[in-house]
């Protein structure tokens, strides 16, 4: 019981952390805590096989997958915590609390008989007992899970696979396109400006400042822009603020006079 009382608060706190963390990575770590704690609780409850599976499958495989995808779509980005649907949060909280309360009341009604314990069931060993069930009574369901896994694998492949729809464009094509854009739209044919040329901020996520003081969006690498990770708003006033921090600029003062 000690284990439970130690782990239970941790798990609840971690679960709360899961839904409150701004950053997805933190949430994932919280989830990992819950899962490992669960594994321990399984062990405590005479389920050594599930303990192992929980660690291997959940913490080992599933959590890794989560983190993998997180890395893929931008690990740094923290979510905005401003709710966009009116009343959603309040309603969720109310329903959640009511749900929890109701279920807890319900438990008192349901769990009345005393605990039998698994000593007898686990007499031949937990794994053997499970195996006996899986391969006799639940054998059909088990086979179906096999089919499910295969389907899932195929599904993941289909979903993640990207067919090349057009032949890749060669350097020549790109160059021609660039010149055509210059001719037709007046786009600068040269390389895009490198980020942070006016090195107020020494990073690739800072857009370059153009001579008129505006930012050049295309100076930030495209993948950052797509994730929305470029630094915003190095507009004129920000530049001025930064300049003021750095020190008085004589030219500026001359101009003022």
């Amino acid at each position: 019981m000690t284990t439970f009382w130690v782990l239970a608060p941790i798990m609840v706190i971690a679960a709360m952390g899961l839904i409150l963390a701004r950053k997805a990575v933190h949430a994932a770590l919280c989830l990992a805590v819950v899962m490992i704690s669960l594994a321990v609780l399984y062990a405590v409850q005479d389920a050594p096989f599930l303990f192992a599976v929980q660690i291997i499958v959940y913490t080992g495989a599933i959590m890794m997958l989560f983190l993998f995808v997180l890395m893929l779509v931008g690990v740094d980005r923290s979510d905005s915590l401003v709710e966009s649907i009116k009343g959603q949060r309040l309603a969720a909280a109310v329903v959640g609390i009511l749900f929890a309360v109701t279920l807890s009341i319900g438990v008192g009604q349901v769990v009345v008989s005393s605990t039998i314990g698994l000593d007898q069931a686990n007499a031949d060993g937990n794994v053997e007992g499970l195996a006996a069930l899986l391969f006799t009574r639940y054998v059909i369901a088990f086979e179906f899970t096999a089919a499910l896994m295969i389907t899932a694998v195929l599904g993941a492949m289909v979903l993640a696979h990207r067919e090349r729809l057009v032949t890749p464009r060669s350097q020549t094509d790109l160059q021609k396109q660039r010149m055509r854009d210059y001719a037709e739209q007046g786009r600068h044919p040269g390389n895009p400006p490198t980020p942070g040329v006016f090195a107020l901020h020494n990073a690739v996520d800072t857009p370059a400042l153009l001579p008129d003081g505006t930012t050049a969006e295309e100076s930030v690498p495209e993948s950052l822009r797509q994730r929305g990770q470029e630094r915003q708003g190095l507009d004129d006033s920000a530049v001025q603020d930064r300049l003021r921090e750095i020190g008085p600029d004589e030219d500026e003062e001359d101009a003022d006079r």
């Binding site: 966009s84 649907i85 959603q88 309603a91 969720a92 329903v95 959640g96 009511l98 749900f99 109701t102 279920l103 009341i105 319900g106 009604q109």
Partner: protein
């Protein structure tokens, strides 16, 4: 032979069906088939009549049944026909006059492209009219009753391309339907009271029922009779019905169909004998119509409408007589027969005149036609003498008898009937003077000429009948003949000797003739005086004593507004409620739609909330 009464009906019916189904192929000879059918029915009717005469007095009613028409529950209708003294006379009138008019129509309709159709309708009419008079059951009678109504509708509206003709046909049918309503309710009352609608059974059992039943039946049948016979207050259709071809006016709207109401009353003698009130109402209706018809006849310039007013008036006489009970039934029928002859004669004569005048019906455009159309003039003149009751002519006997009977019933009613005779003499004299005497007033391009012999021969025959029709009364034959049906007629108790009455009537008639001759001795203007310039009496007569206006204001307009109101209510009220409900639901759905934000988290909240409800429900059930 007497069992063949169904054949009387079948022959013209087959003629009508043949002509209608055969189609254009029969255009060339259709009229001959129709005339032959009518003539065959007449011959058969004559043979049957002779056989009937040969029978004993109490063996003269032969009922034949073709089988059950329909039955359910307690109700049972036999398709049965009775050939007896009354119906035999009608059969002869209908087929006899009918055949003559068929012959006449061959000439009259010679140039009409739809002549085959016309003859088919005529045959249909003859069949329906025979059904009416031969029926042994009120329901079969009603079949004929509506059949003649249909034929009348088709024939009044025969020239359908004229709006007025179509409107007149509709008016006739719809006003008759009002009468039919009375008939139908009477039929239902008979069934509810006696469990049958057999004419013999109902009239035989009427004494067992309460007096009020008899009165109700009598009044309801009178409503039907008023519709069919153009009696006040359902008379307005008859003048419009003159839109039909003239032979139709002669056959249907003078000689036969319009007298069906009188037939009905006489046929229902049992019912009327049992109800004093019903009889009195019949007398009043007859008297009022008599005077109104005569009034209208005096004011119209349209020759056919004068004759139509006159028809109304004469049927009023018959109704009056029929309302007098056994004292008058036979005379009603007698007058009906003689009127059938002389009025058909005059209508056909008027048709002959119109034929000569390029279908102009305005008497003010006639004048001095006696020289141009001698045969028409002579035959028409004989009809004229008959209708005014010139001594020795048929009308003299029949009308005199009615006036005598009316005097015996009530002095004032008798006097009123007498005045009616005088007025009749006046307007008929007016018609004669304007049409055949005086100076010619027709336009130069009109060339009056005598009609072809196919038209004049029927005129001559009918004129002869008009003169000789009084023979039916020789030795009181007709009263004796009809006694089994009409009951024994007591000689009326008159306040003065009969001869005084006859002289009085003659004096009144002579006065009327004299007035007519005097007033129209000189030229009449070929255009009628404007409404404003004539007396209110004339104006009312011209406007058919404003009955159309009254009907319009009391019936047509309210129904029209009611209809509009209901159409509006149906769209707004009933359908509005339904569509309104639909709209409200639609609006509510629009509101609910807002909850469907498209955000998956909203839906998830819904699912979660739903799960909560389910759990709550389960808990509630387990805890309860």
């Amino acid at each position: 032979m007497l069992e063949l009464s169904w054949l009387l009906i079948a022959i013209p019916l087959a003629g009508a069906a043949l002509l209608l189904v055969w189609g254009k192929g029969a255009d060339r000879f259709g009229h001959l088939i129709a005339t032959a059918a009518s003539a065959a029915a007449f011959v058969l009717g004559l043979i049957m009549f002779v056989e009937l005469i040969g029978r004993g007095a109490d063996d003269r009613s032969v009922t034949t049944s073709l089988g059950t028409w329909f039955e359910a529950g307690r109700f049972h209708v036999e398709f049965a026909f009775t050939f007896d003294q009354l119906s035999s006379l009608f059969v002869l009138l209908i087929t006899g006059v009918g055949t003559l008019i068929h012959v006449y129509s061959i000439g009259y309709m010679a140039h009409d492209a739809r002549r085959r159709r016309f003859f088919a309708y005529l045959n249909l009419f003859v069949a329906a009219m025979l059904t009416l008079v031969l029926a042994a059951d009120y329901l079969v009678l009603f079949l004929g009753w509506e059949g003649v109504g249909l034929a009348s509708f088709l024939l009044i509206g025969f020239w359908q391309h004229k709006e007025t003709a179509a409107a007149a046909a509709n008016k006739a049918f719809i006003m008759n339907r009002v009468g039919d309503l009375g008939m139908v309710i009477a039929l239902m009352t008979m069934f509810a009271t006696f469990g049958t609608t057999s004419i013999a059974a109902v009239n035989g059992a009427i004494d067992s029922a309460s007096g009020s039943t008899a009165t109700a039946l009598g009044l309801l049948l009178l409503v039907g009779a008023c519709g069919k016979s153009a009696q006040v207050p359902l008379q307005a259709w008859l003048l419009d019905a003159m839109e039909g071809p003239t032979p139709v006016s002669a056959l249907i709207h003078a000689a036969t169909m319009v007298t069906a109401g009188v037939y009905l009353v006489v046929r229902s003698a049992g019912i009327y004998d049992a109800s004093e009130i019903a009889r009195t109402v019949v007398v009043i209706v007859g008297l009022v119509t008599l005077l109104v018809g005569a009034w209208i006849g005096c004011a119209k310039d349209d020759i056919k409408k004068v004759l139509a007013g006159s028809t109304m008036s004469q049927i009023g006489y018959m109704m009056l007589a029929a309302g007098l009970g056994p004292a008058g039934y036979a005379f009603a029928i007698f007058h009906l027969l003689t009127h059938g002859f002389f009025k058909a004669n005059m209508f056909l004569g008027a048709g002959s005149v119109m034929h000569a005048m390029d279908d102009d019906v305005d008497m003010r455009h006639y004048g001095a036609l006696r020289r141009a159309m001698p045969i028409t003039f002579v035959t028409f003149g004989l009809g004229y003498l008959a209708i005014i009751g010139f001594p020795g002519m048929s009308g003299f006997f029949s009308k005199d008898k009615i006036i005598e009977a009316a005097l015996g019933y009530n002095t004032w009613i008798g006097l009123a009937a007498m005045i009616g005779a005088g007025v009749t003499a006046f307007y008929m004299t007016r018609l004669m003077m304007m049409t055949f005497f005086g100076e010619k007033r027709w336009r130069d391009e009109v060339h009056p000429h005598e009609s072809p012999s196919v038209m004049t021969i029927p005129l001559i025959v009918l004129a002869a009948a008009s003169v000789l029709g009084g023979a039916l009364y020789l030795g009181g034959w007709i009263t004796d003949w009809l006694e089994p049906i009409a009951g024994h007629a007591e000689h009326p108790h008159l306040p003065v000797p009969v001869i005084v009455v006859q002289l009085g009537v003659m004096a009144v008639v002579a006065l009327g003739v004299a007035a007519g001759v005097w007033l129209y001795r000189r030229d009449v203007p070929d255009r009628a005086a404007a409404d404003a310039d004539v007396s209110i009496v004339t104006r009312a007569g011209r406007h058919e004593i404003y009955t159309n206006e009254v009907n319009g204001a009391l019936v047509v307009l309210p129904v029209r507004y009611l209809t509009r109101l209901l159409v509006w209510l149906d769209a707004r009220g009933i359908d509005g409620t339904v569509t309104g409900t639909a709209d409200r639901i639609g609006e509510a759905s629009q509101q609910l739609r807002r909850t469907q934000t498209g955000y998956v988290r909203s839906y998830a909240l819904g699912i979660f909330g739903g799960a909560l409800l389910v759990v709550l429900g389960l808990l509630a059930v387990t805890l309860a």
